[in-house]
Symmetry: D2
């Protein structure tokens, strides 16, 4: 086990070094990068983001996790409250959950109407197309966890006093409404996967492997000149349009 851990640490460090180089290049070139992290509760979003951002430039990086909209925001254009956070030249913005709330938790939990859900699936590709037309690099991760692994992690969370602020009243629903979440996910991936705004699936039952592959994929998408990338493992990371039968059922 000690050895495996060392391998992971060394690989992670190497990837982080490459990522630091890539960001330095992106800052110099004025490249704008927007990375969306989505996935069920406990799928590993926080952990992946932590490793991805550990050594990034604080001035050119923002991790954004918006609270629930207030009443005024609820009445605004659906995408409005996300827009002020979009990246300027050289910036990398990481969304820890995003407008895709309306493609998952909201319809499943009844926090939006079916009409709002449908409208969202229609409008999201238009919104994202405007951003990519404008030159923003948009990377969308779906972190995919199995039902058993989620059950295990949610149980561990409750028992861990350090994870007190990760526990949410919605956790109980994650397992109870597993199938509704799967269905919403499939519908969302199908409706919002686009050539320049593709979804990338990362299987996260193995957390460490997932974290490495997230950074590998980001490096591939940035494609900073002079870097030779190890492509992420195809069994773990794959495009949404090749997901048939591979997503957690």
């Amino acid at each position: 086990m000690g050895k495996k851990k060392d391998d992971y640490d060394r690989t992670l460090e190497n990837l982080q070094i490459q990522w630091v180089e890539a960001q330095a290049w992106a800052i110099e070139q004025g490249v704008r990068t927007l990375i969306v992290f989505e996935g069920r509760d406990s799928a590993g979003k926080d952990g992946a983001i932590k490793r991805l951002t550990e050594y990034m430039s604080p001035r050119q990086t923002r991790v954004v996790a918006l609270p629930k909209p207030n009443e005024r925001e609820t009445s605004q254009w659906y995408f409005q409250r996300y827009v002020p956070h979009l990246p300027a030249a050289g910036e990398t913005v990481i969304l820890n959950r995003s407008w895709y709330n309306r493609g998952g938790v909201e319809p499943v939990m009844g926090f939006c109407t079916p009409a709002q859900h449908e409208a969202f699936l229609r409008e999201a590709p238009l919104f994202e197309r405007m951003l990519t037309d404008d030159g923003i690099i948009l990377i969308k991760f779906w972190l995919d966890i199995s039902r058993e692994e989620q059950a295990k992690r949610l149980a561990e969370r409750v028992a861990d006093p350090l994870k007190r602020f990760k526990v949410s009243p919605l956790d109980a629903e994650a397992q109870a409404r597993w199938d509704a979440y799967s269905q919403a996910r499939d519908q969302m991936l199908a409706a919002t996967h686009a050539r320049r705004a593709p979804w990338t699936i990362v299987a996260t039952d193995d957390k460490k492997l997932a974290r490495l592959n997230v950074i590998r994929h980001v490096l591939t998408r940035l494609d900073c000149p002079g870097q030779v990338h190890h492509r992420p493992d195809k069994a773990i990371v794959f495009p949404a349009d090749q997901a048939a039968g591979r997503l957690a059922p």
Copy 2:
């Protein structure tokens, strides 16, 4: 002349009363209204906005005239800096110039590249469609002034110490580049006139008539129940797609 003035004042007051009633209804219903004022320098935007907003609810009304973008904003998604100002439920937002800078002054004065101009004409209808799909009422006015009248007003401005802050270094170009502005306007109206985001042309050589007709048109678009509207004069106010031969050459 005294009599004519009285007529204008009385008509204006009646329209403002109707408009106050209509806004009270819009606030109650949660209607969101976005009114864009565009037009050449001295076409009468400020004056029309002043009469339109004179008695509106200060809490639910915002007039927005954005300064030139700073360097960071220049590198962002083109529409980003306008989005925070979009109306929430019950609000009326009035844009005194808007994203259409990139359809007029920017390409004519060389403040954007031809590629940016083209991209704008392609993207603006998508952006506006997202807003109208979301239920926002979008009213776009093009205030149309003749070349002679503009020359007269710009000259008067320079002589009037109260209009000091209206005088701009760009004024001189308004006449010099008249034809380029006309061409940009025609291209813009053609590319961005849409069923739910239509342009309405208001001829403004007669300022007072124009102001009355702006309010009349807004009332028609709001269509508050129980109000009987006098349609604006067709010779003065007309849809952009019926503008052939009627716009200032």
Copy 3:
């Protein structure tokens, strides 16, 4: 009567011309000006602000009338929500009501506790001292109306369909709690009048005269070189520390 009106219009225009010149100088010099308008309901704040700002530079002028604080704001440092609106170099910010809500309407209507009221009277001079130490010119107007004139104006408001958005549920209390408002005002003026943050009282039963004198006082405070000012009428405009017996009882 016609003649008197002409006099007013001519005097107003002359003052506005001087004020435009003074603002041009303030912009050039980077002078920061903060003008606070306080006074009972219908004392004439909106009307005075309208004439003062009519020809000011839109880019360097902001009129700020904050809505009621939301729940989060209520829990913050009391002055926090006003601070983002403070003037930068060359700017004039006009506060239509201000932090002095806590010196008047809040204690009188029971919207704050007596302890909060007391704390406010203690803290406001410190806060303002920081701003004036920093070089901001702070002008504070108390518009003073008599009980009879207020009764008349509030009654007219209700009857005027154009003033629909000026009518507030608090209006009824303005007369009913007249004495409590007088007492709060006296306490506030005594506690927060300071050498560099002085209160200036303007008697406003004569609206037009009041508007002229507001501009005259602002000109005197700005003291733009090369301008010869007519000092405002001492019977109408006077410092708070010389108010004994002259304020509306």
Copy 4:
């Protein structure tokens, strides 16, 4: 060494658990906490903040590291740009550098005038007094590093590809102007140490010990009922007014 590391990890985890409990209590009680981290380059601010915030509630915690002020901000009230970040009820805000830039790097590097420096030392206690009068808990850390240790860390940084974004053109000056920095620090601590806004010195040559003691001190200041705290080590953490002869010369 392995054992020592285990001790640190176990102690850190225990402190973090207490801190999570304390924050849960602070959220429930609506306590507002503002923690300022100051210190020379490489004194360990980022590392201490990382451990302090590792398990905190993301929704009620903000780490704020402001970029250099833009031109407009430079002309505003000096404290203005910090104010929007102050904590609301239940929130903990951590400032990674703060208004104390004007007490250290700015005067030493000549980025402000001597008069601005003096004014800052006079105004900062007033500003902080307003915040603590309003009930905000203000904790101010000065992380104190020795000259030799700083030299070592800055050299390591340059050699480490993961620390690329920590390297700054100002690093070279940290050693060259060591004495000027010491003098500015002494002046700042003397002028701005106050009963309710005290400075706490943490010696950070031993990074790990420093991190533990930072959390210990925060726990002591929060004083959440039912927690028994181990006071931080007096040789490492001490109040600024008992610092004579103990600060890095």
